[in-house]
Amino acid sequence: MGGNGFIRAEAIAVRLVGILLGLALIAMVLVNVANAVGRYSGWFSLVGADELLVYGMIWIVMLGAILAARSRDHLSINLLPTAMSGGLAAAVKIAIDIATVAVSLFIAWHSFDFISRIAALNQTSMGLGIPMVIPHSAILIGFAGIAAVTAFLTIVDISRLSGHERGRK
């Protein structure tokens, strides 16, 4: 696959994950309303609905965090970078990206360790009875994904910066 093919595939993947998150949120609203109506009317009760909603939110948060890392759209404050010169600002940006990769890998590693242990114990959730590995994996996948996309963006930034420097020489 060439460079353009990769860019197209990546854009489609980002769009599809975004749509998946939107559909999941709409489904959560429907479950929440149906559960409340059923409970108050006494007609029915959705067993494990609260658990499903919370675990759904955790997956939305972690997958959304990967997309936000991809678009460099996480909450941040550009207190100093706006006052820095171009080269220094670029260096700081790369350093922060490297820190993001390191921290995300650190969390993902310990998450993997934890998930391996609860998988061995076959722990299940109280309401839905699903293996607890499923909701906990959101943290592992989320931070591993943040590390992967940030590492990719860092490599692109470094190659652009070095290309720019070569151009100036």
């Binding site: 939107g22 996480h74 921290v103 310990h110």
Partner: protein, 424 residues
């Protein structure tokens, strides 16, 4: 260890690191270099920070706000307020403020209100003789009231972080929100009189009735949500779900302004906003855990007791601290990082944690439009297309007005607690 954590967070945030990265990096450094708590607990702490039913109301109210914007509910509310305030000096400015406050009763997002009111009212304010700076000041500062008026995302996060009832916080925010709006309205009217801004056309019952009919279904939405929570029909989380369903119903069936494509786009945007907020919630949970394990809140309580700080002295100190922090840090992060530290001290001094939550929220609401980095300033800049220097000058008088409101809310706890006492 505490110093390493605190200094790392400040440096990383100042350098522009994503806030969740700054919090997690600082906590990780503290855990690596000062071993104590087991590292495997990191996963449980992050997961536990998100595994809370009360936090579900965040995505639901964010989504309700998005639906309100695309369905035209906001515009109808603004038009109604405008029709009602025709006779008042500075009526256009007061209408912008009133519209923003009404929008706040539906969604807990200050930025959404600034965007909706800015798009609708800014051209009319300029035409009405308010000038760029005054118009920008009104729009930018009015939006801050929305995080005090329930439903408020800041209060949901405070409730989850400080383990307080979100429904009680919502009730406690009503009177302080109205106090802020009334003081702002007073200032807008007086300054419009002094600046000899021409009044709008007089109040016309027929126009007001028409605007009321247009806005009727939109007006039932805050009533539906608020009455549902306060009458105990549903929890704040369920109310968030109902608010989304109701806004979608209005958009699809009543106003016919929404189709599935728009609904999906609003859902995607809300999911992304939720992710950006909640990943900070998860990271702040780790910092809070490290601080608790290290006994920092207890040490701060002891230091406050030794210093002989009175409850009022503590509240005033916290006000100064939060006003300063609010200038550079968004309310979400500030509440999540500071609540676990400040609430135990407030409780140990006999301050009601619900009143303290309102004081914290009002402080951070002011921070939303305080130069140089208040979030609303940047939203207004993108919507109104103004220079930040114009917006900075415009918001200054409104900062003074809202700091007066803050002083009143701090000194008179009954403003926050009266409605709660009355209802109980």
């Amino acid at each position: 260890m505490t110093w390493v954590l605190g200094i790392s967070v400040v440096i990383l945030i100042a350098l522009g690191a994503p806030i969740f990265v700054a919090l997690l990096a600082a906590a990780s450094l503290a855990l690596l270099f000062f071993p104590g708590p087991p590292l495997i607990a990191l996963q449980q702490t992050i997961f536990g920070g998100l595994d809370a039913y009360a936090l579900l109301s965040v995505p639901f109210f964010v989504f309700a706000g998005e639906l309100m914007a695309i369905s035209g509910i906001a515009d109808r509310l603004i038009n109604l307020v405008r029709a009602l305030f025709g006779r008042v000096p500075g009526s256009l400015g007061v209408a912008a403020l009133g519209g923003s406050t009404l929008i706040g009763t539906i969604c807990g997002s200050s930025a959404a209100a600034v965007a909706a009111v800015g798009r609708n009212m800014y051209p009319q304010l300029i035409e009405g003789g308010y000038g760029k700076q005054r118009a920008a000041g009104i729009i930018t500062s009015s939006g801050a009231i929305d995080i005090v008026i329930p439903p408020s995302i800041a209060m949901i996060l405070y409730g989850a972080s400080a383990e307080q009832s979100i429904a009680k916080l919502f009730i406690a925010g009503i009177v302080p929100g109205i106090v802020m709006a009334l003081l702002m309205a007073g200032y807008i009217s007086i300054s419009a009189l002094m600046a000899r801004i021409p009044r709008e056309a007089h109040f016309r019952a027929r126009v007001a009735w028409h605007a009321f009919r247009q806005a009727f279904w939109a007006l039932t939405m805050p009533a539906f949500v608020m009455v549902g929570i306060y009458a105990g029909f549903f929890s704040p989380t369920e109310a968030g779900g109902f608010a989304c369903a109701y806004a979608a119903f209005l958009g699809f069936v009543v106003y016919r302004t929404v189709n599935f494509q728009l609904l999906l786009e609003a859902a995607v945007s809300s999911a992304m906003m939720t992710a950006r907020i909640m990943v900070v919630v998860a990271a702040a949970g780790v910092v809070s855990w490290v601080l608790t394990v290290e006994g920092v809140p207890q040490a701060l309580i002891a230091a406050t007791t030794d210093a002989g700080l009175s409850p009022l002295g503590f509240l005033l100190t916290v006000n100064l601290l939060l006003l300063a922090i609010g200038c550079v840090l968004d309310p979400t992060s500030a509440i999540l990082v500071l609540s676990p530290l400040l609430v135990p001290i407030a409780v140990s001094l006999g301050i009601d944690p619900i009143h303290f939550g309102v004081v914290m929220t009002v402080n951070l609401a002011i921070g939303m439009f305080t130069p140089p980095f208040g979030l609303n300033i940047f939203v207004a800049q993108s919507v109104l297309g103004l220079r930040t220097s114009d917006i900075y000058r415009g918001v200054l008088p409104f900062m003074a007005v809202q700091i007066s409101a803050l002083a009143l809310i701090t000194l008179v706890p009954a403003l926050s607690l009266w409605l709660l006492t009355g209802m109980s």
